[in-house]
Each structure stands twice: as structure tokens, then as C-alpha cells.
């Protein structure tokens, strides 16, 4: 709905524009600048056109190869995370109490992992999962399972996934819980009268009513996991080998480890574009869901 034009409103928005210009637009332009040039340090730059981009998007080159490897790794990680966290989050939300003092207790307990900084989470799990001194690693090994995330890539993946599930499932659960709370009691009563089973209630009432928050949850979790950096950096450092070298880690290796500024700039732009494209898809889906909901035919 168009609101009445009020010119004074622009004054309030101006500072935001200024901050965004400094924090986002200027650095982004620098990156664009780097991505079309080559440098060997000393502030000497050579024009390279779209060369880096061509190399990056061609899997047969060394750069392209490692880029696509990292991209698939990251996508796989995100997919696994979503497949576990979304159903688990829904299940947790469904089993949470609806009223009474236990509600507050549950909410606080659930919010706790969300409040811990990323690097701390990484450090906690780095120690917790160590097979020599970590509680988890030690127990698992003593149960007769050979587990060591520092030299087995499967173990490393499992560690990262379990860590992420522990850290973020409560976000999905809290969002779903909010969605569930908005369902009027009459719906449950009607369903009971209609003789609906627990599963039927979930499928016909709860899931449709949670659709919107679930989209938001999936979007948030996808973005976060697709950009994950701190935890794998702290726990595995991208290893063993390149097993957990996700895009973000690879980017840092390229930019800071090898000081290939041009290649890294091109890679970060493509990385950025992928994220924007996926965001846009989600946004369109969400708008469509809303439009469908509002369309009331006579």
C-alpha cells in the first residue's frame, strides 16, 4: 500500500545510506577492482579483464577445479544440515509444552546455544570431540568405534554436522514454535471432532500453518551454513586434506594464504552472486505463498 508522501522521512533514512555506502558499497567496489586485475604486491596492478572469471568457472583449470570442489562440498554440507535440522526442529517444536511455567524454561534452554559466539562453539567442539582428551571422542573410542576427526574425513564431517545441529536446531525449533502458537484452538478442536489422527493433524493443520516460518527457517539456515567459516576453521582447519575446505575457507586460503588477490576477488564475487541468486529464489517463493494466502475469490 502506498503511504502518504512525507519528505521528512528521508532525513531519517540518510544515515543508513551513508553507513551502507561505507560498509558495503565501497569494499565491494574494491573487490570488483581487484577481480579484473593481477598484482604481485608493491601496489602494482596489471589489467586482466575477465580472465580470472573464465579460469574460475572452467573446472579443467586448477582454480576452477578447486572452486567447484569447494562449492559442491559446501552445497552438500548445507543440504545435510537442512535435512537434519528442519525435521528435527519441527519435532522439537511439536513436543514443546504450550502453557505453564515449563514454556519459559524450555525457551531459555533452547536459546542458550544460540547465544554462544561461533568461535567459542568451534573451540568447545574442538576439545569436546578430541579422541585423546575430549569427553565425546574418548567415550566413542572406548565404545569400540574408531573415531578421530583429525585424520578421517568422514569423522570430520560427522563432527561438523553434529556441532551445527547442536548449535542451530533450536533456531528452527523456536521459529516453528512461534508458528504453532499462532494456530487458534478451534482448529485442533475441529480436527478432534473430525476424528483426525495425530499425523493427520500435523499434515493438514500444523504443517500448512508453519509453511511461512519454515521458509524463513530454511532460508536462514541455508545462508548460514552456506557461509560457514569460523567453526570448521577452528575445528578442522579445512582438513583432513581438503575434506572440509568449504568455499569460505578456500577463499581465505586463496586470498590470505596464497595472496592471490585477483583470483580471490573473482571467487568472492561469484560466491556472493550465488548467495544473492538463492536468496532471490526464496524471496519469490515467499511472496507467492503470501499472495496465494491473500487471494480471496468471491
Amino acid at each position: 500500500m502506498t503511504k502518504t508522501v512525507n519528505n521528512r522521512a528521508w532525513f531519517f533514512v540518510l544515515p543508513v545510506f551513508a553507513i551502507v555506502a561505507f560498509s558495503a558499497v565501497l569494499p565491494l567496489m574494491t573487490v570488483v577492482n581487484y577481480s579484473v586485475q593481477d598484482t604481485f604486491g608493491n601496489n602494482q596492478f596489471f589489467w586482466n579483464g575477465i580472465g580470472w572469471f573464465q579460469e574460475l568457472l572452467d573446472p579443467s583449470t586448477e582454480l576452477g577445479g578447486r572452486f567447484f570442489d569447494a562449492l559442491w562440498r559446501t552445497l552438500l554440507f548445507s543440504a545435510i544440515i537442512l535435512l537434519i535440522e528442519v525435521p528435527l526442529g519441527i519435532a522439537v517444536a511439536l513436543s514443546m509444552p504450550r502453557e505453564g511455567w515449563t514454556v519459559a524454561l524450555c525457551l531459555v534452554l533452547m536459546a542458550l546455544p544460540l547465544l554462544i559466539p561461533w568461535n567459542v562453539v568451534g573451540t568447545i567442539w574442538q576439545v569436546f570431540a578430541r579422541s585423546d582428551i575430549g569427553l565425546l571422542g574418548w567415550i566413542v573410542n572406548h565404545l569400540g568405534i574408531d573415531y578421530n576427526y583429525t585424520n578421517d574425513s568422514i569423522d570430520a564431517w560427522v563432527t561438523l554436522i553434529v556441532m551445527d545441529v547442536w548449535h542451530w536446531t533450536s533456531l528452527v525449533a523456536l521459529l516453528c514454535y512461534a508458528g504453532l502458537k499462532s494456530i487458534p484452538d478451534a482448529y485442533y478442536q475441529a480436527a478432534r471432532i473430525d476424528g483426525a489422527s495425530r499425523w493427520a493433524i500435523f499434515r493438514t493443520i500444523q504443517l500448512p500453518k508453519m509453511r511461512r516460518v519454515l521458509l524463513i527457517a530454511v532460508l536462514l539456515r541455508f545462508m548460514d551454513s552456506f557461509m560457514i567459516y569460523t567453526e570448521p576453521f577452528v575445528i578442522t582447519g579445512g582438513g583432513p586434506g581438503n575434506a572440509t575446505t568449504f568455499l569460505s575457507i578456500d577463499l581465505v586460503k586463496l586470498a590470505l594464504g596464497q595472496f592471490d588477490l585477483g583470483k580471490a576477488a573473482a571467487m568472492s564475487l561469484v560466491y556472493n552472486l550465488i548467495i544473492l541468486a538463492i536468496c532471490w529464489v526464496f524471496y519469490t517463493v515467499m511472496i507467492n505463498v503470501d499472495a496465494e494466502r491473500e487471494r480471496v475469490e468471491a
Binding site: A186, Q189, A190, I193
Partner: protein
């Protein structure tokens, strides 16, 4: 199909109720016969929704029993009670088509598919939903959605009673008329016990054969619409039913005469002497009072005349007491003074709010 019996039923939301005030629903004994159309009428907080929830099994009563025919269902959950309910705000399953919505209760009860399909067609026909059967239920108007909720109840062949919880709240006036007559027609066609909860007297009276009027957690009168209108058993019923409600005037009663201020009004019956400790009131409906600009009657001052379209309502004052009097179309009232006559057949005397029935004049005893 069922007769519903409420046996010494009472409910308190607080644990361990002691005084009458602790009860949201005071003791009630009542039988609703099979196939009747009933209304529970009263203002918000009168206990009507509590009673409805006890019948549907959402609330377990503190005391007493609920019987469907001879079966005690007090401890049975909602789904085991063979009742259906239509709520204030329409409840439809958004993701399903109208057809799937109607079939849902049968699908849950594992009714064979061809029987379900046949039953859905029948009910859709009855509710005039046939042409929208394949539309998505979420895209329909509120009155259509209410019909779907009702349809989900009707589709079950075993349904004993349908409960309505203020089902017309979100429906536009024009559509209310249609939906209401649809309800009536369905009631006639299907022989199902229907219980309708509302605060709207017009809805209650037009829907029900018998209306249960509730006030402060207790039933104050049960009767047909005309009984409630013509012989309210309590001043609350007189006030609550009718628009505007009954005029209630403090008075003194001596034998067959009522005194309002210093105006004497002749009554058709002789009353026992009502002692000074009691609150004695005279009730007369606006419809049974007549205003004349000339002629004999009680002198009144006209304060205002409201035009409600098909009639007018004169707001008058008699000995400082406000009264409403209906003025039929075609009669003109001018000036600020008028004479009021009350139809003696429709004057009622109340003591402490309750109707006092006098003896007919010339009958035995006074």
C-alpha cells in the same frame, strides 16, 4: 441421533469451589430431546460457552453428568462423542479442496471410498456447495467456509448433535439471512439435535424451537420464542429479549392495582401483597404500549423519536422514568406531551426480578 441429558451439572474453573460465585456454571438439570433445535442465549460471561464445551467434551464438569441417550459420556473425549461443532471463526483445512474437506471426517474413520464420495455429493447438494467442490477451501468467502465446517459435521451419518458457537459472527448481514434459513432447512431435513450458542436474540429466537436464556452462570428461563417474549420469567429475560427490551418500572402493587409514582394502573390479575422488603417492578414491552396525542391515559413527555425504518420508537418519560414505546408506521406523533395506554394483558409484575403470577380476578382467594 441422541437425547442429551444434563444431570446436576455444574462447573468451576477454580479448584475446590465453595460459594456460588466460584461456579462459572451453576447447577443445571436439563433434557434436550432428539431432533430439537435449541439455543443458548446470554451475554458474554454468562456460562453458555462453558456449557457448550462440556457437551462437546472439551471441558470436564466439576460436578454432574452428561448423558447421550442413556450413555454417560462425561468422561469420553470429544472424538468419541459423535458430535460436530461449527465455530465462531470458520475452520477449514486450507490446503484441501472443498471436496477433500467434506470427506476428511469419513476418511479418518476409514469409510469406503465410494460411500464417502456419494455422501460428500449428497451433503454438497444440501448445502449448495456442489459448484465449488473442486475449489480450494482457503479461497472462499466466510459464509462458504462456515457451510464447509457444517458440512464436515453433517457428512458423518452417525452424528448425534451439532453444536454452533456464534457461527454468524463474521458473516455480512445479507448473507446471515441466507445462512440462517439454510440452517433451518437442514434441521428440518435431517432430524439432528442442534444446539446454537449466541448473544444475539434474533439469531437465537429465529433458529430455535426452545431457547435457554442464561445469566450469571445460571439458566433463568427456558421456553419457546413466544413464551420468552410474552411471559418473561425474569426481568433479565424481559430486558435481554426484544429490541428495545421490556420497560421495567419500579412500582407498588395492591391487589389488582399497580402504582407507579402516583399513577394507578389497573391490572388483570390480583396479586398477593408484596412486602416492602421486596423489589417490586412492573414490566411492559414497548410493543404493548400505545401513545396517543389526545385521549386518556398516563401522561408522558416525549423526549425523542427514533426512526428504525419499518417502525419508530418513541423515547418517553413517565414520572421521571424513561420508557420506550413502539409507534407503528402511518401514525404520526407530534408535540412533547402524550397519553400512554398499556395493554393490561401484557403487564407483568416482578418481585426481586422474578415473575409473580397473580390470581385471576373473580378466582378463588386474593
Amino acid at each position: 441421533m441422541a437425547r442429551i441429558t444434563l444431570d446436576h451439572l455444574a462447573h468451576a474453573y477454580k479448584p475446590d469451589p465453595r460459594t456460588a460465585e466460584d461456579y462459572a456454571l451453576k447447577e443445571i438439570n436439563h433434557v434436550w430431546s432428539q431432533g430439537g433445535a435449541y439455543a443458548l442465549l446470554g451475554p458474554s460471561g454468562c456460562g453458555k460457552t462453558t456449557l457448550l464445551n462440556i457437551i462437546s467434551g472439551l471441558v470436564r464438569p466439576t460436578r454432574g453428568r452428561v448423558l447421550f441417550n442413556d450413555l454417560d459420556v462425561t468422561d469420553l473425549p470429544t472424538e468419541a462423542r459423535n458430535i460436530a461443532q461449527v465455530f465462531q471463526f470458520p475452520v477449514v483445512y486450507d490446503t484441501m479442496s472443498v471436496r477433500e474437506n467434506l470427506a476428511f471426517p469419513l476418511k479418518n474413520r476409514h469409510v469406503p471410498r465410494d460411500r464417502t464420495a456419494q455422501r460428500v455429493e449428497e451433503i454438497a447438494q444440501l448445502l449448495d456447495l456442489t459448484r465449488v467442490l473442486d475449489r480450494k477451501a482457503s479461497n472462499l468467502t466466510a459464509d462458504m467456509k462456515q457451510k464447509i465446517s457444517l458440512g464436515r459435521g453433517l457428512v458423518r451419518p452417525d452424528v448425534a448433535a451439532i453444536l454452533f458457537d456464534e457461527p454468524l459472527t463474521v458473516i455480512d448481514p445479507h448473507l446471515k439471512w441466507q445462512l440462517r434459513s439454510t440452517l433451518k432447512e437442514i434441521h428440518r431435513a435431517l432430524d439432528i439435535t442442534m444446539i446454537y450458542v449466541t448473544h444475539d436474540q434474533t439469531e437465537a429466537l429465529t433458529f430455535a424451537d426452545k431457547v435457554v436464556v442464561m445469566h450469571d452462570g445460571a439458566v433463568v428461563q427456558t421456553g419457546t420464542p413466544d413464551e420468552l417474549f410474552e411471559r418473561p420469567a425474569h426481568t433479565f429475560v424481559g430486558h435481554f429479549i426484544g429490541s428495545p427490551g421490556m420497560n421495567i418500572l419500579p412500582c407498588k402493587v395492591e391487589g389488582a392495582t399497580a402504582l407507579i409514582g402516583n399513577q394507578a394502573i389497573a391490572l388483570q390479575r390480583i396479586y398477593r401483597t408484596l412486602s416492602d422488603g421486596e423489589r417490586v417492578e412492573l414490566g411492559i414491552r414497548p410493543e404493548f404500549a400505545r401513545l396517543q396525542t389526545n385521549g386518556t391515559g398516563l401522561p408522558v413527555q416525549i423526549r425523542r423519536i427514533d426512526d428504525i425504518g419499518r417502525a419508530r420508537i418513541a423515547r418517553v418519560e413517565m414520572s421521571g422514568r424513561p420508557l420506550a414505546v413502539s409507534v407503528p408506521e402511518g401514525i404520526s406523533i407530534e408535540g412533547s406531551e402524550a397519553a400512554l395506554t398499556l395493554d393490561p394483558r401484557h403487564i407483568h409484575i416482578y418481585a426481586n426480578g422474578h415473575l409473580v403470577s397473580g390470581e385471576p380476578i373473580g378466582g378463588h382467594g386474593a
